[in-house]
């Protein structure tokens, strides 16, 4: 990267001339770190029915997904879970906590879930619209991984596409937008945004054509703790909240605060579940 290329001219100007390095190249360098088991949705559903390694498992009716599960090493050749399969099933069927996230944007939707036991986690991520896994041929493929609690939380940060941005406040009275305007921006494919809303603030203007806008919700259903975010391409993160007169207020949200929020939400939920 040359000295000229390392600066973001728009952010430098916005910062009153303080040199500000470009951050927008980073997002494209870090897709979801997929290295778990690649499994069809059909096989994932079938695996849930395979719990129990005794006689019942061996007389259970075979399905078309069985050869795939045998190939992945989670079922044996007679249809019973292997040791690895039993570990997956134990966490999946009796989790202490379940953390889920959804991403919606550009007509695509994806979900991510992590089942936590006391010491281990099972992560199940569908192909997402926020990173490099795309294309219809992957639509039914899940990434399933047995890992530690810290690995699972890190994967969630990666999965929602958490990445660095420069975070600026709106100019006074310019943070509210029509609900329809923001819904249309999220629904649009990243390269074809609708017209920029009149009077848009600098953070919204800067991010409007910066790639796919994606609505991301994550939370723990059992405790009701949840967070709603908008990933504004590779240029901003916003926390949407109610504005005046049926508008939506887009609160600029720094990525470091999002990571804190994920960790706090997990720890608070664990504490709540442990008390109950």
């Amino acid at each position: 990267m040359t000295p000229e290329e390392h600066l973001d001219p728009a952010v430098t100007t916005r910062s009153g001339g303080l040199e500000s390095e470009s951050l927008r190249w980073i997002d494209a360098t870090q897709p979801y770190p997929a290295s778990g088991l690649r499994m069809s949705a059909r096989a994932w559903d079938r695996l849930a029915e395979a719990e129990g390694s005794g006689f019942l498992a061996r007389i259970r009716k075979r399905t078309a997904a069985d050869p795939e599960l045998v190939g992945l090493g989670v079922l044996d050749t007679v249809g019973a879970p292997t040791e690895h399969g039993r570990e997956i099933l134990a966490i999946r069927s009796r989790p202490k906590l379940f953390l889920t996230a959804t991403a919606d944007g550009g007509g695509r939707s994806a979900t991510w879930g992590a089942y936590f036991s006391r010491t281990r986690a099972l992560v199940c991520a569908e192909p997402q619209n926020v990173s490099a896994i795309s294309g219809s041929e992957h639509d039914e493929v899940l990434d399933v991984r047995l890992c530690s609690t810290s690995e699972a939380l890190g994967l969630m940060a990666a999965w929602i596409g958490l990445h660095p941005v420069w975070t600026f406040s709106h100019e006074p009275h310019h943070g509210e937008y029509g609900v329809d305007e923001i819904e249309r921006r999220i629904a649009a494919e990243g390269s074809v945004p609708p017209p920029l809303p009149a009077g848009a603030s600098w953070p919204v203007s800067n991010a409007w054509d910066a790639g796919q806008w994606t609505r991301i919700d994550y939370g723990v259903p059992r405790t009701g703790l949840q967070t709603k975010l908008i990933r504004a391409g590779d240029a901003a993160w916003f926390a949407p909240g109610p504005g005046r007169n049926d508008t939506v207020f887009l609160e600029p949200y720094a990525p470091s605060d999002i990571l804190r929020d994920i960790l706090a939400l997990f720890q608070d939920s664990m504490a709540t579940v442990s008390r109950n």
């Binding site: 040199e19 951050l23 609690t149 690995e151 890190g154 994967l155 958490l162 720094a254 990525p255 990571l259």
Partner: protein, 155 residues
């Protein structure tokens, strides 16, 4: 040369390679090569990764923006699979320094790394704090204080 002074408030003042910074008094110094100084939390805790801080100092030869780009490139090109989370202005009075945060996965642990890129007097100083992602919030006040306390030695 590394000079350490234990204080009555439980912290230790460290002077090394042209900078001065604080670390918790019970942290253990780890031998490191070159112009860096490292400390790690006491052994025997229940944490899955031993939290540590490495302070690296050298004469400054670049702007804070160039320093920030170097930090980002090191994070992206980290030896283990990594993911850069944030890169933000940082500073107690004027936020002209940088803090870069990234994750890496190694040995069954996701490690959170916070790297402050500071320019103090005529020195470029990197303060790199690493802990398990699970311990990230618990160590926040300690890591922030280490970075906040870091100053160039003027004598």
């Amino acid at each position: 040369m590394v000079i350490e002074a234990l204080r009555s408030d439980g912290w230790r003042t460290v002077r090394a390679h042209g900078v001065r910074f604080d670390v918790p008094g019970d942290w253990e110094r780890i031998e490191t090569p070159g112009p860096s100084t490292a400390f790690a939390e006491p052994e025997g805790t229940q944490n899955e990764f031993r939290a540590n801080v490495v302070v690296l100092s050298r004469p400054v030869d670049q702007s804070i923006a160039e320093f920030g780009v170097s930090a980002l490139q090191q994070a992206v090109e980290f030896l283990a699979p990594s993911h850069v989370v944030s890169h933000e202005p940082w500073g107690v009075e004027e936020p002209q320094d940088r803090i870069t945060e990234f994750l890496y996965w190694d040995g069954g642990v996701c490690v959170d790394v916070q790297r402050w890129s500071l320019i103090r007097a005529h020195r470029a100083v990197e303060v790199t704090f690493s802990s398990s992602l699970l311990d990230r919030l618990g160590f926040e006040s300690i890591s922030n204080w280490i970075a906040t306390s870091t100053e160039a030695e003027t004598t």
